[in-house]
């Protein structure tokens, strides 16, 4: 039996090492982004790349700052576009979560349901979101529901797959132990299966959220009067390369922010994971 004080010291050292590693990772990230931006700026300043082809980082930053209060050229300010896209992405994501998470868990736990649903799911799974557009227009129109549906399909698949795989990987020893204790199948599913599936299910949610946010362009391609994808389209129609790159950058930054936030939520909700490591 190890001394608890030694254990605590070991954990403290481990945490310190982890913090240092994290700091190094962040620093490396900042340096590589800075190098990337400097090289990009240099290429534009020295006119190695034409301004018609690629706006410089400073022009893009200027476009972002200007767009905060200026609706030109697409008719909406940046904030309005962000809120519009955010609304779409969140509706699609939460719908996929509400439908996909229980479906994946139940499919993974109950074999008859798995046999029944899996063929349909496998059929739908490889379809790219853009392929849904013509049928979505006819069935759901061109409003928020229709666009959210496109995002729903992108986010639904990783949520189902990961929650399905997560619950299928539940340790059989725990299941057998629970059975020995007289737990019903439903109780085992609820108290052992679901918690076991959560780490993978959360990983699926992070992937889904990133995918969903990235599908905005496809969703807003359907029809739109606001949104970041719309802003990019309008930038293209009016030959504004700075607006196009600004839109791309904002999508990337918000996507990063969303997945980071979800990872934080995951760490908070699944705090107990540390005990199993």
């Amino acid at each position: 039996m190890e001394n608890p004080a030694n254990m605590e010291n070991a954990i403290r050292t481990l945490r310190k090492k982890e913090k240092k590693k994290k700091r190094t990772t962040i620093l490396c990230g900042i340096i590589s982004i800075a190098v990337f931006l400097c090289v990009w700026q240099l290429l534009c300043t020295l006119k190695i790349v034409s301004g018609d082809v690629l706006a410089s980082p400073l022009q893009v930053i200027d476009a972002i700052i200007t767009k905060i209060g200026d609706p030109r050229p697409d008719g909406n300010t940046l904030i309005e576009n962000i809120l519009s896209s955010f609304k779409l992405a969140m509706i699609g994501f939460f719908l996929a979560l509400i439908v996909g998470l229980p479906l994946g868990l139940l499919m993974g736990w109950y074999r008859p349901l798995d046999k029944l649903v899996k063929p349909i799911f496998e059929l739908i799974r490889p379809l790219p979101p853009i392929a849904w557009i013509p049928i979505v227009i006819v069935l759901l129109g061109i409003g928020t529901v229709a666009k959210s549906f496109i995002i729903f399909f992108t986010t639904f698949v990783p949520i189902v797959i990961n929650s399905y795989t997560g619950i299928r990987e539940t340790n059989q020893v725990y299941i057998n132990y629970a059975k020995t204790c007289g737990y019903s199948n439903w109780r085992i599913f609820w108290t052992i299966g679901i918690p076991s599936a959560m780490p993978l299910a959360f990983a699926g949610m992070v992937i889904a959220l990133g995918n969903g946010w990235g599908t905005l362009i496809a969703a807003e391609m359907l029809a739109s009067s606001s949104g970041l994808g719309y802003m990019i389209f309008m930038g293209r129609n009016y030959g504004r390369i700075d607006i196009i790159i600004a839109g791309m950058l904002v999508i990337g930054l918000i996507g990063l922010g969303l997945t980071t936030a979800l990872s934080k939520i995951e760490n908070y909700v699944l705090k107990w994971r540390i005990n199993t490591k």
Binding site: F36, D52, L54, P73, P134, I137, I142, M234, G239
Partner: protein, 359 residues
């Protein structure tokens, strides 16, 4: 440490690779510049039809040209391709004129169909806009009250913007008073048919599809007096370095125009082929209506020279373009600098049409 250096190197490499394929594309002569080879770009629409006719009827061979045709569904991809040096000569609408002539180095060397001729915002027969009746003064159906907050499905950045603004202006409204939903023509048509929106853009060949559906043109290019020709454009490089090739191509294109004028029924069949080969469905009956109503009116070289003649502030053509640009500038879509670039004398070259007139 090695890993950090490697990651920085990869970041730098990424920027280089991102920009490597672009470069400065002022030299837009295509890779096929030997002899009389040329790459052209068109849309699967009325201004692209004479080029298709020239190809099908062997006019390019007659001129000793080896032409590769690139078809783009709209101006943005067409002009992005131009930026990469994909083509030398192209026909395009107003959006393409701004993106290519004002923002790049393309020059207008001739004109094609009138974009305003078959342009309309359509609504359903039972809509309050139609029920309110047609107003001769405003040139549209409905009152300001009917139009307010109406959802209009159309492709923004095209000449339909001008139709909408002119109509709204007559009604005492602005673009902020309606909901503008950006969509391509084909999905917009389907969406409107399925019950979305209050009005839909149906221009060119779609005009007759809308008519067939029993829809009513709430406002049209004709009623709002929009008259704006599409353009034949060529790169500065090819005009300077191989003017004889440009001349041959213009001659072949104008032969195509003449053939369409002489054979509208055959031309309609060709338009169906041309559209379907490029993923735009149309039928022969509507194609014939379209040819007769729009394509047949492509100005002859003599008529084209009238556009290059002196107008109020510049040439007649420049005055037309300036009027439209002013509306876009008011909307915040384009800038005064872009208008100034479009107004430069250097952006036009009527010498090829002059030669066609002489011949």
């Amino acid at each position: 440490m090695k890993k950090r250096i490697l990651s920085m190197f990869l970041a730098a490499a990424m920027v280089f690779s991102m920009t490597a394929c672009s470069g400065d594309n002022k030299d837009n002569s295509s890779g096929k510049s030997d002899g009389d080879s040329i790459t052209i770009s068109v849309h699967p629409s009325g201004h692209g039809l004479p080029a298709y006719v020239a190809e099908q009827n062997g006019y390019y061979e007659e001129e000793g040209l080896n032409v590769e045709t690139l078809v783009y569904i709209g101006a943005p991809p067409q002009m992005e391709a131009y930026q990469t040096g994909a083509w030398d000569i192209g026909t395009t609408g107003f959006g393409g004129i701004v993106l290519g002539v004002a923002q790049k180095d393309l020059k207008i060397i001739g004109l094609s169909i009138d974009d305003g001729a078959l342009m309309g915002l359509w609504t359903k027969e039972d809509s309050p806009i139609v029920e309110a009746g047609y107003n001769e003064e405003t040139g549209c159906y409905g009152t300001a009250k009917d139009w307010k907050d109406a959802e209009i499905l159309y492709t923004q950045g095209t000449i339909t913007d001008i139709l909408l603004i002119k109509t709204l202006d007559k009604l005492g409204l602005t673009i902020d008073d309606v909901v503008r939903t950006n969509m391509d023509s084909s999905p917009a048509f389907t969406a409107f048919k399925s019950g979305s929106g209050d009005m839909v853009q149906a221009n060119a060949s779609f005009y007759f599809n809308a008519e067939e559906e029993g829809w009513v043109p709430a406002t049209t290019g004709e009623s709002q007096e929009i008259f704006l020709p599409c353009a034949i454009t060529a790169s500065e490089t090819i005009i300077k370095e191989r003017p004889e090739v440009v001349e041959k191509w213009v001659r072949a294109y104008m032969k195509g125009v003449q053939w369409i004028k002489d054979n509208p029924e055959e031309a309609a069949k060709m338009f169906v082929e041309f559209s379907e080969a490029n993923g735009v469905a149309t039928d022969e009956e509507n194609a014939l209506k379209f040819v007769n109503a729009q394509v047949i009116d492509i100005p002859s070289p003599e008529e084209q020279m009238e556009y290059f003649a002196e107008g109020e502030n510049g040439t007649v053509l420049q005055d037309r373009l300036a009027e439209v640009m002013d509306i876009y500038i008011d909307m915040g879509n384009y800038t005064e600098e872009e208008k100034a670039a479009l107004m430069e004398e250097d952006s036009y070259d009527s010498s090829f049409m002059e030669k066609m007139v002489e011949e």
